[in-house]
Amino acid sequence: MTTVEEHLLPSAEPVCLIDQHGVPHEHPSYDLPTKEALLDGYTELIRGRRFNDQASALVRQGRLAVYPSSHGQEACQVAATMVLKEGDWLFPTYRDSVSIVSRGVDPIETLTLLRGDWHSGYDPYEHKVAPQSTPLATQLPHAVGVAHAARLRGEDTVVMALVGDGGTSEGDFHEALNFAAVFHAPVVFFIQNNEYAISVPLARQSAAPSLAHKGIGYGVPGERADGNDLAGLLAVLGQAVNNARAGEGPQLVEAHTYRVQAHTNADDATRYRQDDEVTPWLDRDPIQRLTTYLEQQGWMDDDVRRRAESRAVQVTAQLRDGLMPEPAVDPADLFKYLYAEQTQQLREQAAFLRDELAREEA
């Protein structure tokens, strides 16, 4: 018989089902995902890694203004969407492009924000993916609202709300967890703890034993997983989604991972951390360990490799072809979307800009 407190507290160690050497481990609470799930996950990881690296390359070529890469965090990125059903929602941040693409959103529309031709490029309702939030944690109360509205209508929607370690310091993180708990909203709050908020390390963000421990303060069960172990993440997040869908209220999951690259291309990580801190994390790569495991199981054949490679090649080509041409922008768009019915003042300002552009052309 566990007490309420024990139920709310996370495991003593992050859940890890396949370790960094590719060795599987039994866990009292979680089973290894099926072969099919792991093979699908492998394909998604390969594609996610290629997406990250291609997007970073396109920044260097001037095709994207900026790209906050999730290189090394791809297991978190793809697990977050693999556990969702079609009617569920994803609330991503700016570092979650791979998650968004994994949910089915067009890669070019995903990168519209970072290319700079508009803010959010995709239709949030098409794949039930909210616009990427740049102000930290501010999307979390929205996730609660979407979940609460669905619950009031009797729908079994679950909302996956992503946030980073830095975001857990924001007031909106606190308010969202508290609201979700009080209203019993089916939200899975998924913290990707990659140890850094730009330059500030975790020790400056929180003195909590782990970020998953924060759940108990709100009455939200917390759990922690090895953020580079796709198997463990699928098990833990899958369980959290099931619990939320079953009416057990919000869930909090922390993934322990690491931002192996700089915050963005505009950042210089050598100013605040040493290489010897980064190097060990390279050996904990999520793709490497899953590959080793799949090979040892004898599940990694040419078909699997070919399928993964062809999906990766496809997304690379989509990015290259989609981002190479200079995007067409229309200055009239600046005024078009603010209000359902444009105000007289905006009509006048749009006309002013139109005339100014016409004079420049003349």
């Binding site: 949030p124 929205h142 609660v144 009031l152």
Partner: protein, 328 residues
């Protein structure tokens, strides 16, 4: 329909009740809005009538309230939320500016937020610190918001119904000193459209431009001026955003002189915007610079001192007297 004499608070309550009857997706939430019926009783009886799912109390956290409303509006509801007092609404400012105001634009119109943020505002009730701010200028300055403020009982009902039906987010500023003012109204009358100002009194000599809590003071000043032989037009903005340039400028052109009356501090405010617009658009009709009667540029004073801060009939009449009636 017979006319009934009700207060602005009752009219707002009736508007919420009628809107919730008319549309199942309308939900009302905030601090103390449930069993208590709100500290100003605007939500009185709604939980009893519609149940906990339609009108409910939240934890005490304004950013959470507005943020949750954003999500509910994204997902098919029409939330109406209450900020208990003007100055208690500031924790939600980030949500209002970064998300409420921008969602439609950043998603190219794909995500609309049909939500209303109700804010009791302004002075005149002897509120202690942080209970009497005029925060309309912050919201008016933020593109993407619609900012509405009634000054009469009939408009309180009509504008709130319109705000709840509106496809975009509306900041609905309720002048709390007028909550208990009663009027004979016919709630079945056609409701004013959002973005339309109205001329409350016609007079040929000068125009007073006012809104919300300043309107009754402006009307009283016009009454006194008339007794002294000067006829004043009084324009009630009703909507700060969108701004009704046409009605305001037509009145100023007819009279050639204007005074803007507002409770908010004057610097970088709605009142300064009105002066700028009127001056830019009506310069050749003006016989004198447009004057303002606003609060001083100080934090809202404690109750025993607020009479020195708020626009008064005398200050308005003095400003009118200063409109260069004769060359000297």
């Amino acid at each position: 329909m017979t006319h009934t004499k009700i207060s602005m608070a009752q009219a707002l309550n009736q508007a919420l009740r009628d809107a919730m009857h008319a549309d199942d997706s309308v939900v009302m939430f905030g601090e103390d809005v449930g069993a208590l019926g709100g500290v100003f009783r605007i939500t009185d009886g709604l939980t009893a009538e519609f149940g906990e799912n339609r009108c409910f109390d939240t934890p005490l956290a304004e950013a959470g309230i507005v943020g949750m409303a954003v999500g509910m509006a994204m997902n098919g509801m029409r939330p109406v939320v209450e900020m208990q007092f003007d100055a208690f609404g500031y924790p939600a400012f980030e949500q209002v500016v970064s998300h409420v105001a921008k969602m439609r634009n950043r998603t190219r119109g794909r995500v609309q937020l049909p939500m209303v943020i109700r804010i009791p505002y302004g002075g005149g009730i002897g509120g202690v610190e942080h209970h009497s701010d005029s925060s309309e200028s912050y919201f008016a300055h933020t593109p993407g918001l619609t900012v509405v403020t009634p000054a009469t009982v009939a408009d309180a009902y009509g504008l709130l119904r319109k705000a709840i039906e509106f496809p975009d987010p509306v900041v609905f500023m309720e002048p709390k000193k007028l909550y208990w003012a009663k009027e004979e109204v016919d709630l079945t009358e056609e409701q004013p459209g959002i973005g339309t100002a109205v001329v409350r009194r016609e007079g040929a000599d000068a125009t007073l431009i006012a809104y919300g809590p300043a309107l009754p003071v402006a009307l009283e000043a016009a009454e006194v001026a008339a007794a002294e032989g000067r006829q004043l037009t009084v324009v009630d903005l009703r909507s700060v955003v969108p701004f009704d340039d046409e009605t305001v400028c037509a009145a100023v052109r007819r009279t050639g002189r204007a005074v803007v009356v507002a409770e908010a501090t004057g610097f970088a405010s709605v009142s300064s915007e009105i002066v700028a617009r009127v001056t830019e658009k009506c310069f050749h009709s003006l016989a004198a610079p447009v004057r303002r009667v606003t609060a001083f540029d100080i934090p809202f004073p404690p109750p025993k001192l607020e009479k020195y801060q708020l626009p008064s009939v005398d200050r308005i009449l003095d400003a009118v007297d200063d409109l260069q009636w004769e060359d000297s």
